[in-house]
Amino acid sequence: MHAPDGFLTPDVAAATAVLSSGVVALALRSGNRNSTSDAASDALPMAGMMAAFVFAAQMINVPIAAGTTGHILGGALVAVLIGPRLAVLVMTVVVVAQALLFADGGVTALGYNVLNLAIVNPLVGYGLFRLLARRSRSDHSLAVAAGISAAGAVVATAAAFSAEWALGASAPVPIGRMALAMMSAHTIVALGEGVITTMLIGSVLTARPDLVRGIGANRSGPPPPNRLSTTWIVALGTLAALAIGALLSPFAATAPDALERFIVDNELAYENLSPAPFADYGAGVLGHSLQDSTAGAAIVGFFGVATAMLLAGAVVAMRQPTAAKHLLSDLAPESRIVLVVGYMVAVALVRAGAFWAFGLLSAPLVIMLVGSWVQRVEADQRQSTGGIVLRLALVLPALLAAAAVALLSTGERPAGLPLPISAAGLTAGATLACRAVLGVLAATALALGTTPEQIGRGLQRLHAPSFLVSVGLFMARYVNLVGGEAERAQQAMVARGFQARWLWQARPMASAAGALVIRSFERSEEIHSAMVSRGFTGSLPHSPSGEASALDPMTPDRGLQWLLVGLAVGSAFVVAISSHLVGR
């Protein structure tokens, strides 16, 4: 569900970015107004640990059916646990970190990704939960209410995405078709999210009922009159979800998200997934359709860009390794962030189908990427090559999304194509693929040479909201610990012969995740008392300049740096603008 760069048109990307920033700013402010600044910062360890938990939980594979796995989005879960305002902030940090550190979701797609995943998802989930929780008397029904809310939140997220597509489609896919595809693909995801959330909240309720917020008032109050029995809600909801799931699950096989996890987590087990339409996509199209001019141009364009990247990279790697490695590593973190974001905006602005422009823009990127690779190999970081390859595997879901767009597009079909793909769809798909590939490469180049701590420092210098940056730094600090705990829990299950293939086998995993939630909360309480113990009274101290230098690379000349960044971003924009003027 993390959309890659260029999935929607630039105007929608910009509009959603404004909208999302507004909502996030509101969430930041309303906290400061309703309570003292003390309480807002007091929530810092908890928000940071929840962010780390969501990050880690998204690494836990949950079986859906027949060996296919998925992971939870977690927005509704977080909202139920820590309330809607903090949930929006926590999810925003997670989504931004995924884009900046792992190239999961495009940087220029952050506007709509934050809107869908960090705002719509937790808010709808929380709203539904409040509605349903009012009718819940027992822990059991409360857990089910949380599950139904989580499922509803996933559907709402898919609906929001479809609505945005109606406004800013990057390919000629009719809204009805896109909505059907999104909804059907995500019904099964919603079902999984619902079941997992039910089990997870259930296990949290047994051990630490105080953690499930927003319940207290309902329990003490009198039962609302004339209420629909919980059992009925549960039964109907489950039945409806199952029916929709069973009807539409064939479509879900091509859902990018389930596949995405599958690919990344099962270490690229291609044979297992091969959804029929994509199996011989490249070969079949190439073999039959090169006569057709539009389709041919699209295909040649895409593969041309790929070849240009490889060639440029190889040449640079062989001839100028040291020059290349200094391109990015000498810049201060904030300059790097501006450079990469500016570059990605330029890529998003390139005219669809202007493949020469993508090729031109890819050259410096590949040089930087190879540069940081060379640097890592020189620094004798053994797993660096494997790590880079694994990161680049994140291109795959973006490519699948591009292929889905190409398949869903309507329009005139070129002769000789073995697949039901329209010419316009092919161009749109290839353009999307180019943008996504460049986006992933750029984010990878940033992440390779820059630690999460440095990125946090850079964002601080760029005056990003300090609460969000602090939550992000907490997350970076603790995600390994939480992830390690998740991994050990999973290993312990596997070691005792547990092998999940179906959703109903997910209970042990959900209770492990529930234990992880409780552990995360308790850890955040311990961190908080460690902070209080050392004199913390509610505001994070500004770190003295002396310490900050430990995170900074040598930055001899700020002015020169910004000049270089300006020149680089400027020329990228020149390429983007000229793509609209040349070759139409």
């Binding site: 360890p45 630690t451 701590e453 946090g456 420092r457 730094l473 907490f474 970076a476 600090r477 603790y478 390994n480 610990l481 850890r523 311990e526 961190i527 008392s529 460690a530 902070m531 209080v532 113990s533 050392r534 004199g535 913390f536 009274t537 101290p541 500004h542 770190s543 003295p544 300049s545 002396g546 310490e547 430990a550 995170l551």
Partner: protein
């Protein structure tokens, strides 16, 4: 921005006096049950006792993370109460049993600076404190490191530097050697032995207690069971057995020092 910086407070060892301290957890389980204990200034006291005896609960009372439900805690005649907390937290510092919770800032240097910054010290003085605290535990080379990449021993020393930078009068160390290898344990004992502050060391490691602390107290069921020279408590087989304590296999104290345990004072010890 004009910000007045607090004048640094001189650090010296302080006496800790705990009088009839009781604490009940919300679920009704007993944390502390009328505990009375005096630790003279500059003394290193080992706090021994089985799991759930109330050791960590006591530690949390010593710098006001928990407030006394009954009884009192004084540090050099300063009663721990809400009004004195800002000063108490400069005077008494806790080393938590898990260093991961204590090291939450992005780098070790920033984490060590966290405490001094909270007390509004002059930035130059903060830098100075960070440097001296790190060197006091042999961790100067860790300054720029990211906490989650440190080994357990390095984390423990970094966390210790974080509380030393506040220059407290009393150190309360909760399980300082848990998870450390023998070399790391010896190293930590050596650094702690050089510090002049009053130290209250909670540990299950009886040989570590013997090495570092001349005096020991045994706590069980939230009450003081015995207090006396460490070597005497550890040679009293009966006392150790009653409090679920056990010396390491093959470790015999009577070979080191044959004094029988009769001279150990046992306030609050019940006859059974």
């Amino acid at each position: 921005m004009t910000r007045r910086h607090a004048t640094p407070r001189p650090s010296n060892a302080a006496e800790v006096e705990i009088t009839d301290l009781s604490f009940l957890y919300p679920d009704g389980s007993i944390g502390l049950d009328g505990l009375t204990l005096r630790v003279p200034a500059g003394e290193r006291l080992a706090l021994l006792g089985p799991n759930g005896a109330g050791k960590t609960t006591l530690a949390q009372h010593l710098n006001g993370l928990k407030t006394a439900q009954r009884g009192s805690v004084r540090v050099d005649d300063m009663l721990i109460e809400t009004a004195t907390l800002p000063i108490i937290r400069q005077r008494v510092q806790l080393l938590f049993s898990s260093s991961d919770e204590q090291l939450f800032m992005p780098t070790v240097a920033e984490d060590v600076a966290f405490g001094p910054n909270n007390f509004d010290l002059d930035p130059e003085l903060v830098d100075e404190r960070v440097a001296s605290a790190l060197s006091a535990v042999g961790a100067s080379d860790l300054a720029g490191r990211v906490p989650h990449r440190l080994s357990t021993g390095e984390k423990r020393r970094a966390a210790l530097a974080g509380i030393l930078a506040i220059q407290p009068d009393v150190l309360v160390l909760d399980e300082p050697v848990a998870g450390l290898d023998p070399a790391g344990k010896r190293q930590l004992a050596q650094y702690l032995g050089q510090l002049g502050q009053t130290q209250i060391v909670i540990t299950h490691d009886l040989s570590f207690a013997l090495e570092l602390c001349p005096t020991a107290a045994i706590i069980n069921n939230g009450r003081l069971q015995a207090i006396g020279p460490t070597v005497e408590l550890l040679t009293d087989q009966e006392l150790l057995r009653q409090n679920s304590l056990d010396l390491p296999f093959g470790f015999r104290l009577d070979r080191l020092d044959g004094t029988p345990s009769a001279s150990a004072k046992r306030p609050g010890r019940r006859k059974s």
